[in-house]
Amino acid sequence: MTDAPTISIGEFKSRLHAAGFNPDDKSLKEMYAALPYLEALRAQVRREYVHTDEPAHVFSALESNP
């Protein structure tokens, strides 16, 4: 769960910047240290789904336009 991050702190900073965020150094380092937790969560929800597996909520045009 606490393996090292898969990206460098420079790459991490660039991705945050691309998302519109420019944290200070303290926050940047703390978020980077926590990145493995986020990556573990992402890995946990990746499954061997097939193309036809639907998510829990699917938009229904008929219900929205009676």
């Binding site: 769960m1 998302a19 519109g20 965020f21 944290p23 929800v45 639907e54 998510p55 909520h57």
Partner: protein, 464 residues
């Protein structure tokens, strides 16, 4: 029954009020006095509405004297988590961003409680926008646990947990997206009910994550939770997730009889997938024979790993929360507390694919629990891993570090209550979750009430 007015349950007080043996004004004055003397140690309130409370109490007293008793919440002092919109009362979400915000309309639940004749004591501390905390860089300090003021209350309904446990309000409302009603109930030793998703309107309540947000009562007993739920449950056309499922009489089944109730014990959540402390495991083990003595049949069951449920909840919550706050977080990040800001900034690395995969998993996990609840009337598991930690030991990213025992039932939307089932050697409460079928809060409350009445845990009050 206790002699102290602030330690009466709602059920006890309402019975006295109905018979005009207890004055709502006297009751309210007792609570305002209690808040004045105790709350500086707890920080449970961000706003005390003393004049409004006394106005409400005087109105209730006059109405009841004139034969206009409205029901069990008439004249009962309550308070709301400060994400519930309240007309004419500032609603800050504990954030500098909304510190001067005063809605001109009540949230649906606040309006229902007002119509039931409750007495509004004020607004309660929360983690920032029900997410970022415990934090010291917000407009108000974090709440403290009445069992030990150096300890965490759990979050995010932190003030609701502290106020209810300390006798600063007879009942409160919290909100639960990943466990924010049940975790404070666990740490503060009260009864916290997360109703089924859609059972209680979220209209006028600051959102955290649309598909996971639940509003619900936090009270001293399950019976009191039933009394509050009776008032706030029901369809609201202004909440797109609201259900028109009929609302039953929640107190009619609180007979103490749970003969034949089938209980599925999810032990592996707290003793397998993760490992709760001995005090929690001992309390859970001690609960089983009590339920069996009451006539319930307990059988251990197996679901997917707790890690699956918790990851599913967190990915969905973080993506939806970022969608709510994206614009303000980019434009004025300095207006957010550090914990809120950093948790959500980190979450910006999640992708649309992550969200969809989590929602796919959500379907699978929900079907699994629904299928299990065809065999069992309720499910049972621990409410937390260990008693409340010290406030200064709660880390910024704790929600991501260990799976949340409360998360599974936000994923599935199932009704779930946390009730106390023991105390640690240091005098801190621990508790269990009882989980039911969708819209069957009645059975959840029935089992919780029977268990509470068969034990003495609810008779212990915090030493404050």
């Amino acid at each position: 029954m206790t002699d102290a007015l602030h330690h009466l349950t709602i059920a006890e007080a309402s019975s006295l009020i109905e018979r005009q043996e207890l004055s709502p004004v006297a009751l309210t004055e007792a609570f305002l006095g209690r808040i004045e003397s105790v709350d500086p140690k707890l920080n449970a309130f961000v706003t005390v509405t003393g004049e409004r409370a006394l106005d409400d109490a005087r109105t209730a007293e006059q109405e009841i004297a004139a034969g206009g008793y409205r029901g069990p919440l008439h004249g009962i002092p309550i308070a709301l988590k400060d994400i519930y919109g309240t007309a004419g009362i500032r609603t800050t979400s504990q954030s500098h961003l909304h510190v001067d915000r005063t809605p001109d309309r009540d949230s649906r639940t606040a309006a229902l409680l007002r119509a039931a004749g409750t007495v509004m004591l004020g607004k309660l501390t929360t983690h920032e926008f029900a997410f970022g905390g415990p934090s010291w860089d917000l407009p108000f300090p974090p709440a403290r646990n009445p069992w030990n003021t150096e300890c965490f209350t759990g979050g995010s309904s932190s003030g609701s947990g502290a106020a209810t446990a300390a006798g600063l309000a007879m009942g409160t409302l919290g909100s639960d997206t990943g466990g924010s009603i049940r975790m404070p109930a666990f740490f503060c030793g009260i009864s916290g009910l997360k109703p089924t998703y859609g059972r209680v309107s979220r209209r006028g309540v600051s959102p955290l994550a649309y598909s996971l947000d639940h509003c619900g009562p936090m009270t001293w007993t399950a019976r009191d939770a039933a009394l509050m739920l009776q008032v706030i449950a029901g369809y609201d056309a202004e909440d797109p997730a609201s259900s028109n499922c009929p609302v039953p009489d929640y107190t009619s089944t609180l007979t103490g009889d749970i003969q034949g109730i089938k209980v599925g014990l999810i032990r592996h959540f707290y003793d397998g997938d993760e490992h709760a402390g001995d005090e929690v495991k001992t309390a859970m083990a001690g609960m089983l024979p009590i339920l069996e003595d009451l006539g319930a049949e307990v059988e251990e069951i197996q679901l997917s790993s707790l890690h699956d449920y918790s990851a599913c909840m967190l990915i969905i919550m973080l993506c939806e929360a970022l969608a709510v706050h994206e614009r303000d977080l980019r434009a004025t990040p300095q207006k957010y507390g550090e914990i809120f800001r950093d948790r959500l900034m980190l979450s910006s690395l999640l992708t649309g694919m992550d969200y969809v995969q989590a929602v796919r998993l959500r379907r699978q996990l929900t079907v699994e629990v629904e299928d299990m609840l065809k065999r069992f009337d309720v499910l049972l598991t621990a409410g937390g891993y260990a008693p409340a930690p010290k406030l200064d030991q709660v880390s910024k990213f704790y929600i991501m570090q260990n799976p949340l025992l409360t998360a599974p039932f936000d994923v599935t939307g199932s009704p779930a209550i946390c009730v106390r089932n023991g105390f640690s050697a240091s005098g801190l409460p621990v508790g269990a979750q009882i989980v039911g079928r969708a819209f069957d809060e009645a059975t959840v409350l029935r089992v919780a009430d029977a268990y509470e009445q068969a034990t003495d845990w609810y008779k212990r009050r915090p030493p404050i």
